[in-house]
């Protein structure tokens, strides 16, 4: 079987279905009467709210994982809508690698305060200081170290359910994961023995020491997220929008120059107009060249992109074919 035969031909604009699909970025004006009164964003929102309420009701001590990224911003917004006019009935946990974009920390504090939620910060630096994890050095990525910090925080607070903003379109291991994902008392995910998850019967009982990860955004794509941000006027950290920044090119990625990322001798610092497609540990989150400075522009950019979100921006997923599965087995987000 030849990939070229199977996949490449539709690149030809006259070939297969180019009229039916969204042609790079600009969306055709083809509007069909929708039989069902609810659109895709209505249904995604409604199901996410349903899942949040269901897990909040069935667990003893839920918590919402919040990184300050766009997905956790949408998650926090949905949690807020699920319990209005009441407050969100669980705290918000930030696993802080210490390698943050300043804009993101300020944003985190403002959002959590606006929701009247309680913020818990679990610090990777504390885990290093306490000898829970080895110090990889001041400039190395702390992405993988977050797992220990996260699991320690879950244990210390006795959380039995943790909401996360992960989406199945991000990665092939995530594509396999249930909405309610069971973790044993070691925090491990066993992809070969997942609980069946039928209908909307999200069933979240666990024994003491075990916990659940709940992913209400499982069926959302990057494009859905941006369309929803547009519809709901959700605020984001400014680094998601195009701005000028000093960057270096490393392993095919643009890394922002910061106190943890400085140029090696062969690397040249350049000022570029960039934005971030994801927000994570500053040492391994790449920027993309972009002039998209509004949500509308980003929706057009995402529609036309030929590179996946993580492929464009995450160095940590490039180490091996099953990097995400391996991290998740250990208890990663």
């Amino acid at each position: 079987m030849d990939t070229a035969a199977v996949f490449r031909s539709p690149q030809d604009p006259t070939a297969a279905g180019s009229a039916a699909v969204r042609p790079g970025g600009s969306v055709t004006a083809l509007v069909r009467p929708v039989e069902h009164p609810l659109g895709h964003l209505d249904l995604l929102e409604s199901l996410a709210i349903f899942i949040i309420r269901e897990v909040a009701a069935e667990s003893e001590r839920p918590v919402l994982l919040f990184s300050g990224g766009k997905d956790s911003a949408v998650l926090l917004h949905l949690a807020s809508k699920a319990f209005k006019p009441g407050k969100i009935p669980f705290p918000v946990l930030h696993v802080d690698t210490g390698h943050n974009f300043a804009e993101v920390l300020a944003y985190r504090d403002a959002q959590v305060e606006a929701e009247g939620a309680r913020l818990i910060v679990a610090s990777v630096q504390d885990s290093i200081d306490q000898g829970r994890v080895a110090d990889p050095g001041p400039i190395a990525s702390r992405n993988r170290l977050q797992t220990t910090t996260l699991l320690d925080a879950i244990n210390a607070h006795g959380f039995d359910a943790a909401f996360g903003g992960a989406r199945r379109d991000e990665d092939k291991a995530r594509a396999k994961e249930r909405v309610l994902s069971f973790r044993d008392s070691f925090g491990q995910w066993d992809p070969k023995a997942q609980r069946p998850e039928l209908w909307q019967l999200y069933q979240g009982r666990v024994r003491p020491g075990e916990h659940l990860r709940a992913f209400p955004l499982s069926d959302w794509t990057e494009l859905d997220i941006w369309q929803y941000i547009w519809r709901e006027h959700i605020e984001l950290p400014s680094i998601y929008y195009a701005h000028e920044r000093e960057v270096i090119e490393r392993d095919g990625m643009l890394l922002a120059v910061s106190e943890w990322v400085s140029p090696e001798t062969s690397e040249e610092v350049r000022k570029e107009t960039v934005r971030f497609r994801t927000v994570g540990d500053a040492t391994c989150t790449g920027a993309v060249r972009s002039s998209a400075d509004s949500v509308e522009e980003i929706i057009r950019e995402v529609s036309a992109s030929r590179i996946s979100e993580r492929g464009a921006t995450r160095a940590d997923d490039r180490f091996s074919e099953t990097a995400m599965e391996d991290r998740k087995r250990e208890g990663y987000f």
């Binding site: 079987m1 039989e35 396999k176 209908w199 519809r231």
Partner: protein, 439 residues
């Protein structure tokens, strides 16, 4: 510090924000039938497969010395799946056209992973079935079509694949079409479209093929785009009209006093002023208001998460059901059900478990095992126990009464799962009533 995106321009449709609906479909068929190639083709042609993902698939194939690109890697993402070349669990994939978002549950075909296949099919609006035209409908695909039908999937798009290998022979297509249409009729499936395709070459997948001038039906994408969509739970309720229902998830306290009851609408829309009954109590009242985070509504559609304010002060809590007074579900503690058993240990009369039905969890005892559903004969045969992956008919008694509808009338109030009392694992999927068949 933060950027406020500003007020949206009048460009919702152009951005795809309010022109798209949602279709969930599950795939049935084994890798050899060409399922992964078809999904790869659909994803690529709808621009959902990215260049870096393609490169990763090529690299992975090369590393295993396969000599050719293994397209199953598009959906088989787990280490164990790639090692063994099988699909263990459902992979969810996403595609979109200007007016429809697709959620694709790519399901395993092996019998030992029936629980995972059922997971994928339980929320599907439609099943996409792959049949190899060189060999015909396989036993295992037939079994999974039966499970999908029992789970209430009543639209089938059947791809007679590898038509290029049979020289686009019309009679090969016709044999599959005849067999599938007969099976669909027996299973009460309302729509069955059979399409001759070559997934490898893309014939009739997205682009219409010249190879089969005798075929003038839809392509696969046409069929997926014209299928009924809009929420799997809504379909049954709308077509068969079980009536409005809202299982209470959470009680919200409203400013100025009073409470509203939060949950998702199913079975039919609620309107302000509707006469309703709260079950299992049986208290009658009316809908005084419908609240959402975005403000009050006069009418709440099926599939929407809302909260309801009732006309009278009643004791209502999580697990109760608010239902349209007319045609309200039956309240009972004993009922017959069709269950799909996922545990290695057999299910027998006297077993004590937990049941989760809508938002209520209760102890349950198996009063009787009535029989096993034979997927070849399409009938129930006598049996005393259900073994792993059996579909059977049982009689259950619950510790508290439940408000149930027959599954064929309502996919939400007619469904439940059984839970192990010790581990809390989900060990069976259940549907209220006997299997639905049409002779």
């Amino acid at each position: 510090m933060t950027t406020l995106p500003g007020s949206p321009p009048a460009g919702g449709p152009e951005l795809g924000v309010d022109t798209m609906d949602l279709l969930r479909f599950a795939t049935i068929g084994s890798v050899d039938d060409g399922k992964s190639t078809l999904i790869g083709r659909l994803l690529f042609d709808t621009r959902q497969l990215f260049d870096d993902q393609l490169t990763a698939i090529e690299t992975a194939s090369e590393r295993r010395g396969l000599g050719e690109v293994d397209l199953s890697f598009v959906t088989d993402g787990l280490r164990a799946e790639r090692e063994q070349g099988i699909t263990i669990d459902v992979a969810y994939r996403y595609a979109a056209t200007p007016h429809r978002k697709f959620v694709i549950a790519d399901c395993p075909g092996h019998i030992q992973y029936t629980r995972n296949m059922a997971t994928g099919a339980s929320t599907a609006d439609l099943a996409l079935v792959l049949v190899d035209a060189t060999s015909g409908l396989r036993e295992q695909s037939r079994r999974h079509i039966c499970i999908a039908a029992l789970l209430g999937v009543d639209q089938l798009v059947v791809c007679a694949n590898k038509m290029d290998l049979v020289g686009w022979d019309r009679s090969a297509y016709q044999r599959i079409a005849d067999e599938m249409e007969a099976l669909a009729r027996r299973l009460g499936i309302s729509s069955c479209t059979v399409i001759p395709i070559s997934a490898l070459h893309g014939d009739n997948v997205v682009a219409r093929s010249d190879a089969a001038p005798w075929y003038d039906g839809p392509t696969v994408l046409d069929a997926l785009e014209s299928a009924r969509a809009g929420g799997w739970a809504a379909q049954r309720g709308m077509s068969r009209g079980s009536g409005a229902r809202l299982p209470v998830q959470w009680v919200l306290r409203q400013p100025g006093g009073g409470r509203t009851y939060a949950g998702m609408v199913n079975g039919g829309p609620f309107r302000v002023g509707d006469a309703v009954v709260v079950l299992p109590q049986g208290a009658k009242t009316t809908i005084r208001a419908i609240e959402t985070a975005d403000g009050p509504l006069q009418r709440a559609e099926v599939g929407l998460s809302v909260s309801l304010r009732l006309g009278d002060h009643l004791d209502v809590s999580r697990g109760d059901l608010i239902a349209a007074a007319e045609g309200a579900p039956k309240v009972t503690d004993t009922f017959e059900a069709t269950v799909c058993w996922f545990q290695e240990r057999p299910l027998a009369a006297g077993d004590r478990l937990r049941i989760k039905h809508t938002t209520r969890v209760a102890p349950v005892v198996v009063e009787d095992v009535i029989g096993i559903f034979d997927v070849n004969e399409l009938r129930v045969v006598d049996a005393n126990v259900l073994r792993e992956n059996d579909i059977g008919v049982v009689k259950l008694r619950t510790a508290t009464p439940l408000a149930v509808d027959p599954y064929e009338a309502d996919r939400i109030t007619g469904s439940f799962v059984l839970i192990d009392e010790l581990t809390f694992a989900t060990i069976a999927a259940g549907m209220v009533g006997p299997p639905r068949l049409h002779d």
